[in-house]
């Protein structure tokens, strides 16, 4: 199987001092779904920007769909599709006009049959003449994917494709992404900080933190790295690390703010000991984490994925963009 995306030593430095991506290597086979998993600010979007020619590569090299991104960015751009996190459409235009513009920009001569089929596939045919400013978030996302597929790309980049969507729309999009990959044979590179999303969709995942790949493999391989469980708990009484470490079965204790994180051989065996050692009514919250990509991330970085970045700011930015776009 040939590789759709190959990168060697891919590096991005902003203003000669901020290293957003630090010597990343990638080999993504054609026809696969590859996930970049990491918190906000980890460098996921910057990697997409470099691979699509939107941002200059500071150091290293990359080939997408067989073309060198630095030397032949236009050939790359003819062969890739892009689904943005913040849903970027022209709200003053209808769905059909957005597709028309996309066809023009991709220099397509014959495109209308395919556009009609895509609209049917995404259940947008009936409202194709309506301005997209009046579409629901789910419809907008569908149209974005239709735009990305119009020119039959070999690779689609999906940057946080389900961010800010409710659970139903998210599941629907997962089905669409899987369908697009299987039926069209399109290679998908998606970024996410949803563990469940990467686990469910991706053939392979790279965990990225602070611009570096810290682990790569299939979700199963990555999960097998962590054979132990994690117990997270918030307590109302003064608890010391020594006290928690002394509980049988606890191999490691760490804390972040008021939250204790215990690494244990088996949560089922440790929980009774834990309840015995601490007063039950003193435990305000308890959470058991079985081996998952989340526990892999915790294992490697020492923090949860949703706590590692600046989520609050990013969600604000996202909703601000949605509001702006709607206006």
């Amino acid at each position: 199987m040939t590789d759709a995306i190959v990168a060697r030593g891919l590096t991005k430095v902003y203003e000669k001092k901020i290293t957003a991506v630090d010597h990343v290597d990638m080999d993504i086979p054609a026809g696969s779904i590859f996930g970049l998993l990491g918190p906000n600010g980890a460098g996921k979007t910057t990697i997409i920007k470099m691979l699509t020619g939107l941002s200059d590569i500071t150091e290293g090299e990359a080939r997408v769909a067989g073309f060198d991104v630095r030397k032949d960015p236009m050939s790359v751009k003819s062969r890739v599709g892009w689904v943005a996190a913040e849903v970027i459409l022209d709200d003053d235009l209808s769905a059909w006009e957005n597709l028309w513009l996309q066809a023009r920009l991709q220099r397509l001569g014959e495109w209308k049959d395919r556009a009609e089929e895509l609209l049917r596939y995404f259940d947008l045919s009936e409202r194709k003449k309506d301005k997209v400013g009046g579409y629901s978030t789910g419809m907008r996302k569908k149209l974005e994917i239709a735009l990305a597929l119009l020119h039959q790309p070999e690779v689609i980049f999906m940057d946080e494709p389900t961010i800010g969507l409710d659970a139903n729309v998210r599941r629907m999009l997962w089905d669409l992404i899987t369908g697009v990959n299987r039926e069209f044979g399109v290679t998908v590179l998606l970024t996410s900080h949803y563990i469940e999303e990467a686990d469910r969709l991706c053939d392979r995942v790279s965990i990225i933190n602070q611009g570096k790949f810290v682990a790569s493999g299939t979700p199963t391989e990555l999960k097998s790295r962590v054979k132990e469980d994690f117990i997270e708990l918030d307590t109302s009484e003064t608890v010391t690390a020594e006290k928690l470490s002394s509980i049988p079965g606890v191999s490691q204790v760490s804390s972040e703010g008021k939250t204790w994180r215990l690494r244990v051989a088996s949560a089922e065996e440790v929980l009774p000991n834990l309840f015995h050692a601490l007063k039950t009514d003193g435990i305000r919250r308890i959470n058991v984490e079985k081996p998952s990509l989340e526990s892999v991330f915790i294992d490697i970085t020492g923090t949860r994925i949703d706590q590692a970045g600046s989520d609050v700011q990013d969600f604000r930015k996202f909703y601000l963009n949605v509001r702006r776009a709607r206006r």
Binding site: Y14, K49, T52, G53, L54, S55, M74, S75, K77, S78, V80, W82, A84, E86, I88, L89, D90, D92, L93, E97, W100, L101, Q102, A103, R104, L105, Q106, R107, L108, G109, E110, W111, D113, R114, E117, L118, R120, Y121, F122, D123, L147, L149, L150, H151, Q152, N168, R171, M172, D175, L176, G179, E183, F184, N321, R324, A325
Partner: protein
């Protein structure tokens, strides 16, 4: 609640790409048409584009038109006796209007950058130069919307317009060159900016001195020497002179062809410079 089961048939139709100049024109036309559609679907943009020069005629023109005839003749100096100030002002207002429409093109570019649409454009095989040229031409076309309205308004104010069809074509071509030149200038200056305020600030900075040092509002003969020197290189002035010869005096001559040539060179130089600057500095990061 689980998601509905997808039963729709996956698309099987294929697309065909255009190469070479046809491909380039496809991209250019898509972006240019988008500019026009967005303009004509926004009633506020149309209203302001039309109302602003009309207000110049009504307020500024109306005020100076009330001067006694002998004083007005003295003020207008070389204009044929009996020329009304409104008929003197109309060509100038249209020229200054074309100068400031460049600001809209720059604002449209900044809007595309801020809302991320520029990323959607530049992630396709569309060059920055194509984006720049489509914005510049779209912006100039927006300015031409003023012409029929202003002509109608002038007639309503009792202004008698002169000129042959050929002379009118030359005048409109001159206005188009002027609009293109200033659109290109504004877009080039704001290529790297994402700040909403930048086009407005630049417009304020440029519009006032170029408007007054142009002969668009008053005859340059009454200006101090240094302002006359500015007027000699100011394309707004040449556009106003051309328009005045055609519309007000009905005297289209060889010197008007020189004015037209000057405006064409201005547009070309600005477009070439602007394309080079935009190709380098138009970024979405």
């Amino acid at each position: 609640m689980s998601a509905p089961v997808k039963t729709a048939v996956l698309p099987t139709s294929t697309t065909v790409s255009r190469d070479g100049y046809l491909g380039w024109f496809s991209q250019f036309w898509g972006l240019f048409a988008r500019e026009l559609v967005k303009t004509f679907r926004n009633p506020w943009v149309i209203a302001i584009t039309i109302i602003q020069p009309f207000m110049w005629l009504a307020f500024f023109g109306g005020m100076l038109s009330e001067l006694p005839a002998d004083q007005l003749d003295q003020f207008l100096l070389h204009a044929p006796a009996g020329t009304s100030y409104l008929s003197f002002l109309l060509p100038g207002v249209l020229s200054t209007g074309m100068m400031s429409i460049g600001m809209f093109g720059a604002m449209s570019t900044i809007q595309d950058k801020r809302f991320g649409f520029m990323k959607r454009i530049l992630i396709t095989p569309t060059s920055k130069a194509t984006v720049y040229l489509s914005k510049a031409l779209g912006s100039a076309m927006r300015g031409l919307v003023q012409i029929p309205v202003m002509v109608a308004a002038a007639l309503a104010f009792g202004v008698r317009l002169q000129g042959t069809p050929i002379a009118w074509v030359a005048w409109i071509l001159g206005l188009t060159f002027l609009g293109l030149g200033f659109s290109a200038l504004f877009l080039a200056v704001t290529a790297s900016s994402t700040d909403w305020q930048t086009p407005g600030v630049i417009s304020n900075f440029l519009t006032m001195p170029l408007m007054f040092a142009s002969g668009a509002m008053f005859p340059t003969a009454i200006y101090p020497t240094w302002m006359q020197d500015i007027a000699k290189v100011n394309p707004v002035g040449y556009s106003a002179l051309l328009a005045r010869d055609v519309l007000t005096y009905g005297q289209f001559s060889a010197s008007d062809l020189q004015y037209l040539g000057y405006l064409a060179v201005f547009a070309l130089v600005m477009l070439v410079l602007g394309t080079a600057l935009a190709s380098r500095y138009l970024k979405v990061e």
